[in-house]
Amino acid sequence: MKRKIGLLLVLTLTMVTVLSACGGSGGNSDSGGKTKVRFASWDNAEDLDSQQELVDKFNVSQDEIEVTLEAYGDDYDTKISAGMGSGDAPDVMYMWNYPSYYEALEPLDSYIENEGAEYKDNFYEALWAYNQIDEDIYGIPVGFTTHALFYNKDIFAEAGVTEPTDDWTWDDLQAAAKTISEKIEGVTGFSYQLQADPYDFEMYLWSNNTAYVDEAGNVADNLNSAESVEAFSVFQNIQKEGAAITTEGGGTDEFRSGKTAMYIYGAWSVSTLDGDGVNYGIVDIPAFADSGREAVSILSSSGLAMSKDSKNKEAAWEFIKYWTGEEMNKERIGYELSALKSVVESEGVMEDEKSAPFYSMLEQSTGYTPASFLVDDWGSLADDLELALERINNPTTLEDPQTVLDEVAGAH
């Protein structure tokens, strides 16, 4: 028996040694002296091609750094988490969920300072708040979008309803949606997301002079304040009138196919809608009549971050500068809004009727910090909020917002 165990042990040891040895250079050793930088993207295949071209351009333009583009698509979070957990995260990554990930990211303040004040000022100020935790900046803004109201001009014309304007209130929207739904068979006036992201939804609370939490992070009396309840209710009410449907995704598909007349979304769908030839317009999000203010939008800003464990930080920074620089911003117009003032000016983005509303929403939205940055346990609060939104908006449940929100506030 002992001999057999001994034999087995020797065999195993041999195998392990052989296996490690034949691992050899694996996939990531330096080849020919160039510093390798790994860059992870979450885009789908369609955009990857153009991204690959841009990466190639960078590689060709200089001799010291070679960047490889890694495409993770929808499973981005899984892959990044796995990478961070095993100390093998990509050097450069797209990032937007800073509260969850910042501990594995490299603070970039010193790099930014080295570039001089002009560098930092060229970015819209509002964006920095979304890419930093406390006082440290963890990502360079790549692009951003605010949200605005999309509407289908053809449907409005057919129903004989006046088109939305920047001065609309939610009452106006509800009335229009109702008319359209009643007049045209097979079309609903408005759509909104069933499983809305609580992070995004907070903008409606801001528009109504409240928020999920106060600066100290207290939920009670904020989340379940009367203004907050009103914000949650407004969607439910439109649905109850038969003037709105809930969508599984953002609502672009339904809007494209002419099933809905209005929806609120970011600039991501602009090129898709243009490609489809939909006759649409964009205006500000409606305001709450009693709030005494214009609507506020959340900033969906993505940034480029650097891994704390990166072995090639200088090289990574060079690439980050490139990817967030003017040239790149210009390439991405039509998909995302440029984060650089200089590009907005030089390309006349403000004059474009498809982009201007988003910048106008941007102006109305400075100075707000999402609760995710203020609350320690945002993960658990977000979960409950997600469920709360579902309970309120699911057509088969349609629970009373005040009750639901009181429950959530009570648990935090």
Binding site: L19, S20, G26, N44, A45, E46, L69, K79, G85, T252
Partner: protein, 273 residues
């Protein structure tokens, strides 16, 4: 077994009903792959495409380096199938045809390895493979298959235990050692089951994208399944290319199955002497 005409009719009806259930989604998928995107998401959904857009397939194939992905998928599939068939039959034979100390405990451990969900051992496994320098190669996807997988070992063991003891006894009288008995007598008998394992492995590995997702980085190493998953981005899904590639991906495993069918049923004429 003679079946009466009435039973035949019933059987055909049942077969057809089930076939419709199984085939319908695929047919829908197939037709939709030929549509233009706007038509695909239209409400209410149509069945047949207005125009048969063959270009969709060309576009989908060119959207990513699928030729490279195909090569990688084939490498992984063939590599693992060979490895599994050889190693699992070997190990299963050990568990099925011998009595030895610790057999039951080891077998329970074998089964137990199937019970841990992968997403939790994923990161530690990543670290192990990283220490071998195997990350971003196809090795983590292929080499473990040569050491057996609990699922197939278990299956083979069940099959092997269905063969009467006399076979070994007769061979041993003739002076054969254990390995010869395994290789010359049992493997031929088990050919249908070995082919079954090969087919099952092909299905699993061909479509597996979690393994490649975690262990690969370079797009040049991607497999078809991972390339397919890339059509789902964080903001939008490219439905048409996704469906086109799905349709293409189904073809090789189905061909393999049609060919393998013949061998899976080989044993019907009665057990080999």
């Amino acid at each position: 077994m003679k079946t009466s005409r009435k039973s035949k009719v019933i059987i055909y009806i049942l077969l057809t009903v089930v076939a419709v259930y199984f085939l319908a989604p695929f047919v829908y998928m197939f037709f939709t792959a030929f549509k233009k995107e706007a038509e695909a998401i239209a409400y209410p959904p149509s069945l047949l495409p207005e125009n048969w857009s063959w270009q969709n397939f060309a576009d989908a194939w060119n959207a990513q380096p699928f030729a490279v992905y195909f090569k990688n998928s084939v490498l992984v599939t063939v590599g693992t199938t060979l490895g599994q068939v050889l190693s699992c039959s070997l190990v299963a034979y050990g568990f099925a045809r011998f009595q030895f100390r610790g057999k039951n405990i080891l077998f329970m451990i074998l089964l137990a390895t199937m019970m841990i969900p992968w997403d939790v051992t994923m990161i530690p496994q990543y670290m192990v493979f990283k220490s071998f320098n195997w990350i971003n190669t196809l090795k983590p996807l292929i080499i473990p298959a040569w050491f057996g997988s609990a699922y197939y070992i278990f299956l083979m063991r069940q099959f092997l235990m269905g063969i009467p003891k006399d076979y070994e006894e007769a061979a041993r009288i003739d002076g054969a050692n254990a390995f010869q008995i395994y290789w010359k007598i049992f493997m031929p008998i088990m050919r249908p089951q070995l082919i079954l394992i090969a087919v099952l492995n092909v299905i699993t590995v061909w479509n597996d994208y979690l393994g490649p997702l975690i262990f690969l980085q370079d797009r040049s190493k991607y497999t078809l399944a991972l390339g397919l998953a890339s059509f789902k981005g964080v903001h939008s899904t490219q439905i048409i290319p996704l469906l086109c590639i799905t349709v293409i991906m189904i073809i090789p495993p189905v061909i393999i199955f049609i060919v393998a069918q013949k061998y899976i049923v080989e044993g019907t004429s009665g057990s080999i002497k």
